[in-house]
Symmetry: C2
Subunit: 166 residues, 2 copies
């Protein structure tokens, strides 16, 4: 089908992103790995933004799936969130450090990713957003290597979960 090459381009873009970060994801590099020159890639993919939308959608879907797989309590949700994010740091950052392209994302994807945490918060949206922000803050500071060198991240996560459990 016509989308085969798009799928392949997204897969290659993801490999580059996960391996070497956002600066490594260029249309030239993607094309190279597909065995063609950059201009040829434009016969299959309209632009780079389209590839990023696909990557963001994949990130949301996989993170949501990871959260739906576990027990559903805040402790295990926090663990699943941190585990997925640290396993896919650049993908996580891509999906959280900029506005979502909501009009180009599959309908309901954002809500599905948020559902497990919302459920764990008894349907309280504000509390769920605060808890999400807490997990996101911990993850993003960890990914950015921004905590002091001596910080005990496991203990910080424990304190976070304790605050939202009490």
């Amino acid at each position: 089908m016509a989308e085969d090459r798009v799928t392949q381009a997204v897969a290659v873009a993801r490999e580059l992103l996960e391996a070497d970060g956002p600066d490594a994801v260029s249309m030239r590099a993607i094309a190279d790995r597909m065995g063609m020159r950059a201009p040829s890639l434009y016969k299959h993919v309209p632009d780079k933004a389209t590839l990023e939308v696909h990557l963001i959608a994949a990130a949301l879907a996989e993170l949501g799936q990871a959260l739906r797989t576990d027990r559903g309590d805040l402790t295990s949700l926090a663990g699943a969130y941190r585990a997925w994010a640290t396993a896919h740091p650049h993908l996580y950052t891509l999906a959280t450090a900029q506005p979502l392209p909501r009009d180009r994302l599959p309908e309901g994807l954002e809500d599905e990713a948020a559902a497990p945490l919302l459920a764990a918060c008894g349907g309280d949206q504000d509390r769920a957003r605060a808890a999400w922000a807490g997990a996101h803050g911990l993850v993003s500071l960890e990914l950015a290597d921004r905590f002091p060198p001596d910080a005990d991240l496991d203990a910080a996560w424990g304190a976070f979960v304790a605050a939202f459990s009490g």
Copy 2:
């Protein structure tokens, strides 16, 4: 003194950063605003990284100052944190989205910025880091315009403070 031009370059870099974001901060643009060409700027400043270190130091100092000015309880600290960050979004992001250049920062600066929150957490480092992460998560998601359009951020901050107060 010899540092005058460095100070001026830092000030100009900050103006550019705060006005138009990180992509607007180039050695060419800084030099232009100082009435010279980029190569001349290198007679006063060794490289761009040096300017960024100064900006990060300024951000930490000012944010710390903002936190030291208020009542010291978690509610007012959260308000001060959010207020400073949203007033200086690009500076805040510069100072939090990458590892700190600790070896080039004034001694004690990081600890001074963290002190008010640590005090509000009764000296519990892990709890203080979790609380910091919560505030950072809320701020960074707000600055990135990453919350759903209908999200009530004030309420989310309220839920965050409530979780860490209870």
